[in-house]
């Protein structure tokens, strides 16, 4: 599959999801058995831990199609980056989707500020650059989109492995935005 084929595959799957016509393919015993030998997922999705944003449903993919890294706010921290390096370097995945979503709770909490305790503060600090890059009082969804774009850039800035694949044209990073009220994924 070329990078364009993969993007098309994701867009087609999302259209089926929106139309409530999932194929739901590649989830059976035969597929499981085939995959015990190994996996070669064509894409990686870095998305939020939110219960309403389920990449495999939103793109209508089955077993073995997508690597999915999830953390609140879809942030590129060192563990997300390492996970993605594994997918790119060892498994040949060609597309990385950084998927933010409408009304993200983590982005909302980061915008509200205040002390949320050590772990949440640590998480929310990753979202500060998106707040800095948008106007004070900007709409949350504007910050969400900026956050997806900045984390896409962060993958290249902080990983020489990902950067070299992108520079060679073997991997493409696509920031995207999931609409909670329609299920539609907009590539940014």
């Amino acid at each position: 599959m070329t990078i364009n084929d993969i993007k098309q595959r994701l867009e087609d799957g999302n259209e089926r999801f929106i139309a409530d016509k999932l194929d739901g393919k590649l989830n059976d015993t035969a597929r499981r058995t085939e995959l015990t030998k190994g996996q070669q997922p064509y894409a990686i999705v870095l998305s939020c831990a939110d219960s309403r944003v389920v990449p495999e449903l939103a793109f209508d993919t089955g077993l073995g199609e997508l690597f999915v890294v999830r953390v609140a706010g879809n942030v590129a921290n060192s563990s997300s980056i390492a996970s993605i390096e594994y997918a790119v370097a060892h498994c040949g995945s060609k597309v990385i989707v950084v998927l933010g979503h409408q009304s993200c709770g983590a982005v909302t909490a980061a915008a509200a500020g205040g002390d949320n305790g050590y772990n949440l503060n640590h998480l929310l600090s990753h979202i500060a650059p998106a707040l800095d890059a948008t106007d004070d009082g900007a709409d949350i969804n504007t910050v969400v989109k900026k956050n997806a774009q900045l984390n896409a850039t962060e993958l290249i800035n902080r990983s020489s492995i990902i950067r070299s694949f992108v520079e060679k044209g073997d991997v493409k990073i696509l920031p995207a935005y999931y609409n909670l009220d329609s299920g539609k994924v907009d590539f940014l």
């Binding site: 929106i18 409530d20 999932l22 739901g24 989830n27 059976d28 499981r32 058995t33 995959l35 015990t36 996996q39 997922p41 831990a49 939110d50 219960s51 309403r52 389920v54 990449p55 495999e56 449903l57 993919t61 077993l63 073995g64 199609e65 997508l66 690597f67 999915v68 890294v69 999830r70 953390v71 609140a72 921290n77 060192s78 563990s79 980056i81 390492a82 996970s83 390096e85 594994y86 060892h90 009304s103 709770g105 983590a106 909490a109 949320n116 305790g117 050590y118 772990n119 949440l120 503060n121 640590h122 998480l123 990753h126 990983s159 020489s160 492995i161 909670l180 009220d181 329609s182 299920g183």
Partner: protein, 213 residues
């Protein structure tokens, strides 16, 4: 029963009525449906509408990024049912603990599941002491589990020995449950108050079965 479930989306009220053991039962039942090819064909479109303004997930799952383990599919859950953090090797770090604190304290989840799986690539990498970019530091998180699993003399401790790899994966789940309690005062307090529970689980990539530990 299935007909009702099929059209059911969690609400604040339904979530509040659940205990941790109900949540575990719901996950076990969902995995059974997945295994029996009896997954529900939910009306996802109406679930999208129902959850657009809020989420009331009954459980939070920490699992691996492995493409063979789409969490919602193997537990047969719909939109808004489970909060899911995923990282290679399903360990907890500050950001995942922060995500779980969000899930339980702010979004009302009753159960945290830390789920490892057989033939885990990250665990294999740790067994082989692989070194590559940011991966090196990440695999260090799995080293304590590796050290904890004892083997008789002469037993292969590399990724070629799958039985060993799977033992390390189970130990890694146990150690991360302990780490969660130690490193998140927020979650630890909720556990001590009986508001939430934490359980470990293992997914078998060959059979599709989830076993709670």
């Amino acid at each position: 029963m299935n007909l009702e479930l099929k059209n059911f989306t969690q609400t604040k009220t339904s979530q509040a009525a659940l205990k941790a053991r109900d949540a575990q039962e719901m996950l076990a039942e969902g995995n059974k449906r997945f295994l029996n090819k009896a997954s529900l064909h939910r009306d996802l479109h109406s679930q999208i509408g129902d959850t657009a303004t809020g989420q009331y997930p009954f459980a939070a799952v920490v699992s691996c990024i492995d493409s063979r383990i789409p969490t919602e599919i193997i537990f047969d859950q719909g939109i808004g049912d489970i909060f899911n953090a995923r990282v290679a090797g399903n360990f907890v770090n500050e950001d995942i603990l922060g995500s779980l604190e969000f899930a339980c304290k702010l979004a009302g989840s009753k159960l945290i599941v830390i789920m490892g799986h057989t033939s885990c690539g990250a665990v294999k990498g740790a067994c082989d002491h692989a070194k590559l970019g940011n991966l090196t530091a990440m695999l260090d998180k799995i080293n304590p589990a590796l050290a904890q699993v004892e083997t008789a003399e002469g037993v292969d401790r590399s990724s070629k020995n799958l039985e060993f790899v799977n033992k390390v994966a189970i130990e890694n789940v146990h150690l991360n449950i302990a780490r969660l309690k130690e490193e998140s005062p927020v979650l630890n307090e909720m556990i001590n108050n009986g508001e939430i529970e934490v359980v470990g689980a293992m997914y078998d990539v060959a059979t599709g079965k989830v076993s709670f530990l």
